[in-house]
Symmetry: C2
Subunit: 222 residues, 2 copies
């Protein structure tokens, strides 16, 4: 009984560390999660923290995993009920832009910020961010590819380029919403995404003249 109570308490302390740590990292960046400040926020001693994590890297890596789980439950899960292909892609994008504040975090997306924070640093934390980014990019590519297979997006679409540009819209939305605190961030991002989709639609779905088809093909090649 006593042991199980201790285990439960340890588990809930661990969960509390992750929760407070993620909030902190969303505001101050992963490197802003110093063990001293984190221990303070959780209300335990620094040596108490070391009972849960071996090092600062360890904390940051677990925070990234936790962030990834949280974003998945806010972005991917609710989109899976949408029809396969373009509707699901649209739902994922809608849930992705601004997911961090919508999920209750006080700041921005720790992975997006981490790509600027750890770009010139070699560390296991950098490797973790790279792994999450690669998985996410693959997920987006698969969604776009599915929309191509279903004939919603055009056959000769450069899927990686589409996702590369989509990532740029996400980052612009992030700086616009979080840094500039611009009230039109959502609207600008939606217009940019609509334009990206519009020029990726299957030819003939929205364009009829041979002339525009030819020039469209040319413009993509350039």
């Amino acid at each position: 009984m006593l042991f199980s109570r201790i285990v439960t308490r340890a588990a809930s302390t661990h969960a509390r560390i992750l929760e407070r740590g993620l909030a902190l990292s969303s505001q101050r960046g992963l490197d802003g999660v110093t063990l001293g400040v984190l221990a303070d926020r959780v209300g335990i001693s620094k040596s108490g923290l070391f009972a849960h994590f071996k090092s600062k890297d360890d904390v940051q890596i677990e925070l990234l995993d936790y962030s990834s789980q949280l974003s998945g439950s806010h972005i991917i899960e609710p989109a899976m009920s949408e029809p396969d292909g373009l509707p699901r892609l649209r739902a994922v994008v809608r849930n992705w832009f601004g997911w961090a504040p919508r999920s209750g975090l006080p700041g921005g997306c720790p992975v997006a910020a981490g790509m600027f924070e750890f770009d010139d640093v070699e560390s296991p934390v950098r490797d973790k961010i790279a792994a999450i980014e690669a998985e996410w990019r693959l997920f987006l590519c698969n969604l776009v590819r599915r929309a191509v297979e279903l004939g919603q997006l055009r056959e000769n679409l450069e899927v990686e380029q589409f996702v590369w540009e989509l990532n740029g819209i996400y980052l612009a939305h992030h700086t616009s919403q979080r840094f500039l605190r611009s009230p039109d961030a959502d609207q600008r991002a939606a217009a940019a995404f609509d334009a990206l989709v519009e020029r990726s639609l299957r030819v003939g779905k929205n364009r009829k003249t041979k002339d525009s088809i030819r020039r469209r093909g040319k413009s993509r090649a350039g």
Copy 2:
């Protein structure tokens, strides 16, 4: 004589602090420029640093000014010999993407990284980044507006939206080049920028059918 030598030495120490500090901030972010590490890199004592700067904020703000000067000399100056309008815009964009490593910095753009580092922090450093960003955005908007006036880009172009999307391409290029170390970062960014310009060209310059003009207008409104 002695005094002037001291003044010269002080000025050159100040310049050295800025130079080393900017290199450090481009690799580790502005908050990575701790006074201890900076003093080490410059080869002076921490109290020696305080002879030049009142506080860490002070250092960061001067570094941002210095970064702004450096980027201006790499991005804007060489573009001014290009013809007004679209050619100059293209030259600025070409010089902007990847300017930091090309100017000799060992890391990325301190302002881009700062927009993620300081998004949820209130400080004079944040205000400085915001001021630089606003000035840069205005400069880009004016370039785009000039291309509209000259009839190169279409009259009903939403200039702010164009620059918003251009900023997204820059950020995607930054993560692609610096974080992912992707060999195709330049090519992806060029393709994205070309697509943005292509759909902003003056109607009739590259599109002839009334049908495509009508649909193009519609797609922009959506």
